[in-house]
């Protein structure tokens, strides 16, 4: 019988392989890591802002996640579990740290302005940092992690209506912060649309 590649396995099958602790456990965990690490890191990075703190939280998330699998805890959604772990770690880190931008982050920000579109991205990153924690979290879970309202509600233990409201507020606040730039961008976009042939 042909062996199924880990890339083709679902989360449950991969979890079983990791739990079994056999030779394939490593490749199964690697596959889970490849599947979810970008979104987990995006959450940590944008929620915490600081690069070092976000790396710490990110590493700790996957180590705890691995322990959870090993303890064979019942899980309905693997990604939901990872995001809950990440969220708890990030909230803890947020309580500990002061809002000081590291030199490395500052340099990264300064050097990361290659095009006009990147300029908007940089403004958005700055604007995200200006949002209150609860609104920022909603925005990141929705826009960076692509979670549905229901998934966000599950991860944050919030009613779905609260998620809707907070998301609406977060985007509204972002638009207010970005208003001067977005107006230009919108004009530019309109002109481009009108000039299409």
């Amino acid at each position: 019988m042909m062996e199924t590649k880990v890339e083709q396995m679902n989360d449950e099958e991969l979890t079983r392989l990791v739990l079994a602790g056999e030779k394939s456990a490593e490749s199964a965990f690697t596959e889970l890591y490849n599947r979810y690490s970008p979104r987990v890191y995006a959450y940590c990075r944008r929620f915490l802002g600081d690069r070092v703190d976000s790396e710490d939280a990110f590493q700790e998330t996957f180590i705890k996640f691995h322990h959870c699998i090993k303890q064979n805890q019942p899980v309905t959604s693997l990604f939901g579990l990872i995001m809950k772990i990440a969220r708890n770690l990030c909230l803890n880190a947020k309580r500990r740290t002061s809002p000081i931008v590291s030199y490395e982050d500052y340099m990264s920000f300064k050097n990361d302005n290659r095009t006009e579109q990147d300029e908007l991205l940089n403004l958005i990153k700055t604007s995200i940092d200006l949002l209150p924690d609860d609104l920022r979290e909603m925005f990141i879970l929705r826009e960076y992690d692509g979670l549905s309202y229901l998934e966000i509600a599950e991860v944050t233990d919030s009613p779905i209506n609260t998620v809707k409201v907070k998301l609406f507020r977060a985007k509204k606040r972002l638009r207010e912060i970005l208003a001067p730039y977005l107006a230009d961008y919108s004009d530019f976009d309109n002109n481009m649309s009108n000039n299409k042939f």
């Binding site: 490593e26 965990f29 690697t30 890591y33 490849n34 690490s37 970008p38 979104r39 987990v40 890191y41 995006a42 990075r45 944008r46 790396e55 990110f58 590493q59 996957f62 180590i63 691995h66 340099m107 990264s108 300064k110 050097n111 990361d112 290659r114 095009t115 579109q117 990147d118 908007l120 991205l121 958005i124 990153k125 929705r142 826009e143 960076y144 692509g146 549905s148 309202y149 209506n161 609260t162 809707k164 409201v165 998301l167 609406f168 507020r169 985007k171 972002l174 638009r175 970005l178 977005l182 961008y185 919108s186 976009d189 309109n190």
Partner: protein
């Protein structure tokens, strides 16, 4: 929470863009969109924000150090494959890849273009060694130079003196003379040999051609043809080629200064880093070993982007160190200069330059290739592509750093 109203067009718009709007409300929203310019602007802005977020590649790329830390702590092998980026960020990913590869891609295209031009140039001059007519045609270039007027006159004399009326084809064989400037070339015409007993046949043209690597551009100055056909068809042509002496590799000490402008891989950029030529230059002294080989000593300065792991002894954590030091280096270089010249590029010569050097952190290999032009005074210029590969070690792990860019410089032959 009172501000939220699901029947508000703006909120419906948010729900629509998030894929959460009930289908029964879509018609109402679309009607609002048609008649509400402000709402359409809001939609554009929200889409712009979302598209920008999807270009946030940095947020979606876990650092290698973090990945290494996780897998090390779990006792797993660190995965070699890069972490995939979600499809949602595909636009940003490709934009990022494009940004990273433009420099090497541009260099590759430029190198291909130079290679093509060189190949085309040489092939177009390709000599069929068995075709004396083609060789003669190539020598029209020589014949047309003012410096060869006397030789032309001699060739005319040869034709006039040919009592048998046979056509005599004078062939100026440049490379043969170039190698041995004081040597002689015997000009032989097989047709004449068949009809004139006085002709001293000393060889076959093909034999001579077979020993040649022909380049019509080397032959610039010719001495007059020294004899006539009444005595012998064996004639001496001695060539003194001043220009050749300057542009080729007659024994001479060469001092060289060159600068590189390019990128470092890994590309580490810090604001305020001095990227001027002062941080990336070299000086060298070369002595000729043979006609096309030169060997010399070199030294210079060059910045290298470095990214490596380092374990902090205090907290036993793995860190990624990024830095871009400017290193001093010194070593031995070999330069191979083609004896071909490119006519449409000011008679410049292709060359290849290899250097084995040492730095304070590890060995360095440098190579550059391009074109060089030298004037009669011995002053020359260089233009080409240069690559450097530095190997260095930290925590018993070897790392490498590459530089790639455009090189330019000047040299002086003494």
């Amino acid at each position: 929470m009172n501000e939220y109203n699901a029947n508000n067009p703006s909120e419906m718009l948010h729900l629509l863009l998030d894929g959460e709007l009930d289908s029964s409300m879509e018609a109402s929203l679309f009607t609002s969109l048609l008649g509400n310019e402000e709402l359409r602007n809001e939609m554009r802005e929200l889409i712009s924000i979302r598209e920008s977020v999807r270009r946030d590649v940095e947020a979606f790329t876990p650092p290698i150090s973090a990945t290494s830390g996780i897998f090390s702590k779990l006792g797993y092998t660190i995965p070699l494959m890069p972490v995939s980026i979600p499809a949602a960020t595909s636009l940003g990913f490709w934009a990022n890849v494009g940004h990273k590869i433009w420099n090497p891609a541009f260099t590759a295209v430029l190198a291909s273009l130079v290679t093509f031009i060189l190949m085309w140039n040489f092939n177009s001059q390709g000599i069929n060694e068995n075709d004396s007519n083609q060789i003669a045609d190539n020598n029209k270039t020589v014949a047309n130079t003012s410096q060869a007027n006397e030789s032309l006159a001699s060739s005319t004399q040869i034709t006039n003196d040919n009592k048998s009326g046979q056509e005599v084809k004078v062939v100026y064989i440049t490379k043969y003379i170039k190698d041995k400037p004081n040597n002689t070339v015997e000009v032989v015409n097989n047709d004449v040999e068949n009809t004139d007993d006085n002709v001293n046949d000393t060889g076959n043209l093909n034999d001579i051609y077979n020993n040649l690597s022909f380049s019509p551009f080397d032959n610039v100055k010719l001495q007059p043809y020294q004899s006539n056909l009444n005595n012998s068809m064996t004639k001496e042509i001695s060539l003194v080629n001043n220009y050749y002496s300057a542009v080729n590799n007659d024994p001479a000490l060469t001092l060289q200064f060159k600068v590189m402008s390019g990128s470092s891989y890994p590309n580490i950029n810090f604001s305020g880093t001095d990227e001027s030529f002062i941080t990336n230059f070299s000086i060298a002294a070369f002595a000729p070993v043979s006609e096309i080989f030169q060997i010399g000593l070199e030294a210079g300065k060059e910045p290298f982007g470095m990214e490596f792991y380092d374990i902090d002894d205090k907290d036993n954590r793995l860190y990624t160190i990024r830095q871009k030091p400017t290193l001093l280096w010194a070593g031995v270089g070999v330069k191979i200069i083609s004896d071909k010249h490119i006519d449409f590029l000011a008679y410049s010569q292709p060359y290849l330059h290899l250097t084995m050097a040492s730095t304070s952190v590890g060995p360095l290999v440098k190579t550059n290739a391009g074109l060089q032009f030298v004037s009669e005074s011995g002053l020359g210029i260089l233009l080409g592509l240069e690559g450097s590969l530095l190997a260095y070690q930290n925590e018993n792990i070897w790392y490498s750093s590459k530089n790639l860019g455009i090189m330019y410089g000047m040299f002086m032959r003494f």
